[in-house]
């Protein structure tokens, strides 16, 4: 825990999960959480457990689906992957995020 860590910005976990699944294909919950941590160079403080509620939400939206698979520890776990709607949603979410950050950046500059 030597590096300074920051919280996951509000509302971005969904986007991070969608992006991860887009890049990596089907993953189970732990792998998704690890992947996000690794990509951030462990600078993101993610309660790994919080991916599970986020996954449920995404599933309810119809953007991801679950299939049963076997984990490396030989246990039956859910593997998540993007649905067709989810694949379409990724660029939308990315665009939304970029719009929002651009807006905040402009506001910060002009205030």
């Amino acid at each position: 825990m030597s590096k300074p860590q920051s919280e996951v910005p509000y509302g971005t976990l969904d986007l991070l999960i969608l992006k991860t699944l887009e890049a990596m294909g089907p993953l189970h919950g732990y792998a998704i959480a690890r992947r996000i941590e690794q990509v951030s160079g462990d600078s993101l403080q993610l309660s790994q457990g919080s991916v599970h509620p986020a996954l449920i939400r995404l599933e309810q939206e119809g953007w991801i689906r679950t299939d049963w698979g076997i984990s490396e520890t030989n246990r039956k776990v859910k593997f998540y992957s993007l649905t067709r709607a989810g694949k379409k949603q990724v660029p939308v979410e990315v665009a939304n995020w970029e719009k929002a950050t651009a807006l905040v950046a402009r506001l910060l500059e002009s205030l």
Binding site: H28, G29, Y30, A33, Q48, G49, H52, R75, V77
Partner: protein, 881 residues
């Protein structure tokens, strides 16, 4: 209210537990394991790894809670809080709540109960697999007339029409004596060909149904029992398949028991194979009812064409007499609900729909009244910043809660109604109809409750929130004027109108019923008890034996104390005579078609049927004397018409006469010895058919009905009657014991049932209209308190106030009655078919209807009026100031 909330919570908890929760648990365990493994790989000890994995995961319970929240529905919480508010607000006005809920419960309950009947009889598919393929096959000698089938014809169809029928079966109702150590009882059954259960696609629950060999001559005596017969007549004996019950003196093996269901509602208790004896294989005797199961894709019309083609082909090779009969293949579904029953059901359903409308009107009215009295509360909340939408939502939730409570109570009412009406329904509905509060009926109830909630809830909610805040707050809203009051008056007027339609409909049916009761049936009904008797062919193989038995039994019965007269006949008085025969008169080409009834010397005397010419049937008319017959006046008229036979007594004609057991008819010469006054044998409205009465001794039948005139106490004589019959043959049970009044009611029942039903609905409607009138009037008086106070302060006397309020009430009622009369006129055509000798615009019925509604209006107005008049003006003015 907390209990309601608690119940909902527990219910949700139940749903939440279960699969999703277990899956989440598994996910967490898997996640932690994987994390631990990675940590160990990074070089941590197992203990440290477990802690690290836990730490990185974060709060497990917190995460689970979040997970659950995501899974469950957010809006549930909001709804719960609105419901809580609604219930609390209803709880503050328990009287109001109780009235609205019970009004709706009556309306919804009556509708749900009625719908369950409509559903069972007309909507639900018949309770057999692929029910649309089950058909009945008739011969139609004339358009609109259908006839039973002869055994050779049936066998031809079965052999040659198997391209259109998957199975074809013939049946004949039978009745046997079941004897065991306790004596003999009668058991109704059917003799059926082996395909019967294939037609209905019914498999046995225990054992099996018939094999194709079992309706061939020489097969062992086997029977299949209905589930009800197994449970009832055989006490649910688990060893039933090894029992050999004695039917008509012959042991039969029980080879199967049907599953519970539709067949239990029929009177048939058992089935045995129908084996055609050589003497039954005659084309002239039509005695079989034929059912078939169509092959997939075959229409009823194609099946009929096929059989007609068979007829045509056979007619060429075998010269069947020049028959040009058509064949009718009719789906069973259409047959079970006859046109008459269907019409009665729809009329009754229409009546309950009116009841529901009235109930809705009442609920709207009460809610409007409630909203009006809450104007100030709503105005304050609106002034404090509650949006109009929020207020509407809240009022709407409140009315929804009310209506749903009403709906639930209504389902309970429907359950009670169905249970109470079940015996009556079982008697008047086809056996395929299973009347129940099942899922279909419950969803109908749900839809109705929701519809009522929307109808009754939305309107008052919108009205209440659109009223002027300032006006309400300033307290200037007083009196009964304004759009609000006008609307409520309009609703009450409508209620009165609808109620009048129902009440006069019920009165019309009631008057028609009275007419039917007074109808001259041509027989003396009082103190006559009837029963039926079947002679087993084994004990009574010849007509002579039967004739001897009948004579002995009649004599023995007449000696029973309390019995004054005894008569025997093949058909009950006032019931349709199913035997049809033809009279051949020399010189006339076509036979005269008649109904054919065999009676003993006591029959006319016992029923008080007068002989108008010649003589009746006497003990002298027997096997050894010349054949004679007595005809009814209708036949005498017919003979005068077609054969110019003005004085039929003494004339000799030939009459086709059915055999004893064998299906063979003979056409002896018979002398007409007398004419009797016609007894009624068909439903009112139909003309008396021509009937021939032949001495039972000259043409015995194994099935007879006993008609016994007793002293005052019919029930007391019954044991002695049974004892007397047992004296002569201990193995002969008597069945279908009924008084002559019951027999008559059954003949008239087609006309009386809707009257009873609609009468009940009219009573509910009147009750609801009275509640509605009372509600509105008393509310109006409440709002007019100040006005009344001022009037009284200015010198108005109590009678003036009473008069004022009552005039108001009667005004509403009068307008309602005018509209109601218009509605009654509009329904003339519907009612005409249900009425017997009563005009649909019968002035007596309409006058009584109007008068009773006016009386109810007066009563409903009187109570609030008296209360208004008893107010102390000073008090009222001070309180309102």
């Amino acid at each position: 209210m907390t209990t309601v909330r608690g119940a909902v919570e527990r219910l949700l908890a139940l749903v939440r537990r279960g699969r999703l929760e277990r899956e989440l648990e598994d996910e967490i365990v898997a996640h932690l394991e994987l994390a631990e493994r990675d940590a160990v790989a990074r070089g941590l000890s197992p203990e440290e790894a477990r802690h690290a994995a836990r730490r990185r995961f974060g709060g497990i319970e917190q995460m689970k809670e979040e997970h659950r929240d995501r899974r469950s529905f957010r809006w549930m919480e909001t709804l719960m809080s609105d419901l809580r508010y609604g219930l609390a607000s209803l709880g503050r006005a328990p009287g109001f709540t109780a009235v609205v809920v019970s009004v709706l419960a009556l309306g919804v309950g009556a509708n749900v109960a009625m719908f369950s009947v409509v559903d069972a009889v007309l909507l639900k598919p018949l309770p057999f697999p692929q029910p649309d393929r089950i058909v009945r096959v008739w011969e139609a000698p004339l358009p609109g007339v259908v006839n039973a089938t002869s055994a050779p014809d049936f066998l031809d169809w079965k052999r040659l029409a198997n391209s259109v029928f998957k199975a074809l079966s013939a049946e004949q109702p039978i009745s046997v004596a079941l004897t065991d150590k306790n004596g003999a009882t009668r058991l109704s059954g059917k003799a059926v060909t082996a395909d019967y259960f294939q037609v209905f696609a019914t498999k046995a629950q225990l054992g099996r149904t018939f094999t194709p060999e079992e309706d061939r001559p020489g097969a062992a005596a086997a029977i299949v029992l209905s589930h009800a017969a197994w449970q009832g007549d055989f006490g649910g004996d688990p060893d039933i398949l090894r029992r050999h019950p004695i039917l008509d003196g012959v042991p039969h093996q029980v080879i199967g028991v049907l599953p519970p269901g539709a067949f239990d509602r029929d009177e048939t208790r058992f089935w045995k194979p129908l084996v055609f004896t050589p003497d039954q294989q005659v084309r002239d005797i039509h005695w079989l009812t034929v059912y078939g199961r169509l092959r997939g894709g075959v229409t009823a019309a194609r099946a009929a064409e096929r059989i007609e083609a068979i007829y045509a082909a056979l007619a060429q090779t075998r010269s069947i007499n020049d028959r040009k009969w058509t064949i009718v293949v009719e789906p069973l579904a259409r047959l079970v609900a006859g046109a008459g029953l269907e019409r009665s059901i729809y009329v009754a359903f229409g009546a309950v729909a009116l009841v529901l409308l009235i109930a809705c009107a009442n609920a709207v009215n009460l809610l409007l009244a409630k909203a009006a009295s809450r104007r100030r509360e709503l105005a304050v909340r609106s002034a404090l910043g509650a949006s109009r939408g929020r207020l509407v939502a809240q009022l709407l939730t409140e009315s929804m809660v009310l209506c749903l409570l009403g709906g639930v109570a209504g389902i309970a009412v429907a359950g009670l109604l169905i249970r109470a009406a079940k015996p009556l329904l079982a008697e008047s509905l086809p056996f395929t109809a299973d009347v129940n509060l099942d899922l279909r009926v419950l969803s109908f109830a749900g839809a109705i409750a929701l519809g009522v909630a929307l109808l009754a809830g939305t309107f008052p909610a919108l009205r209440a929130s659109f009223s002027d805040v300032a006006e309400s707050l300033s307290g200037s809203f007083r009196g009964s004027s304004g759009a609000h009051a006008r609307l409520r008056r309009a609703i009450v007027t409508g209620e009165v109108a609808l109620s009048l339609v129902l009440v006069s409909g019920a009165l019309l049916l009631f008057r028609s019923l009275l007419k039917l009761q007074q109808l001259d049936t041509g027989v003396r009904l009082e103190n006559v008890v009837t029963m039926s008797l079947d002679l087993p062919a084994g004990t009574y193989p010849t007509p002579q034996k039967a004739a001897v038995f009948y004579r002995a039994m009649a004599q023995r019965l007449e000696a029973v104390p309390g019995v004054s007269q005894v008569g025997l006949a093949t058909h009950l008085p006032l019931r349709w005579i199913s035997n049809g025969e033809g009279i051949i008169i020399s010189g006339i080409r076509d036979p005269v078609m008649v109904r054919f009834k065999r009676v003993d010397p006591g029959y006319f005397r016992t029923l008080g049927i007068p002989v108008v010419a010649g003589r009746g049937i006497t003990g002298q008319d027997s096997d050894g004397t010349p054949r004679v017959m007595v005809i009814n006046q209708a036949l005498a008229g017919r003979l005068a018409e077609v054969a110019r036979m003005t004085d039929p007594v003494g004339k000799v004609v030939r009459v086709s006469t059915p055999g004893y057991v064998e299906k063979r008819e003979f056409i002896p010469e018979v002398e007409i010895v007398g004419v009797i006054r016609s007894e009624r044998v068909s439903s009112p409205g139909d003309r008396d058919p021509p009937v021939v009465y032949v001495p039972l001794a000259q043409a015995p039948s194994p099935q007879v009905k006993l008609v016994i005139r007793t002293g005052a106490e019919m029930a007391a004589v019954m044991p002695a009657i049974r004892e007397a019959v047992r004296d002569i043959d201990p193995n002969l049970p008597l069945g279908d014991v009924a008084t002559m009044e019951q027999v008559r009611d059954r003949t008239l029942s087609g006309a009386s049932r809707p009257a009873e039903l609609i009468g009940a609905f009219a009573a509910i409607a009147v009750l609801l209209a009275a509640i509605g009138l009372y509600g509105v009037l008393s509310h109006t008086v409440t709002l007019q308190r100040r006005e009344i106070g001022i009037r009284m302060a200015l010198g108005a006397r109590v009678p003036d106030v009473l008069l004022h309020v009552l005039r108001n009430a009667l005004g509403m009622v009068a307008v309602g009655l005018a509209f109601g009369l218009l509605g009654t006129f509009a329904l003339t055509r519907v009612m005409k078919n249900l009425l017997f000798e009563v005009s649909p615009l019968d002035p007596v019925a309409l006058t009584i209807g109007c008068a009773s509604m006016a009386l109810i209006g007066l009563l409903a107005g009187f109570l609030p009026a008296r209360r208004a008049a008893s107010l102390d003006p000073v008090e009222t003015l001070r309180e309102e100031g």
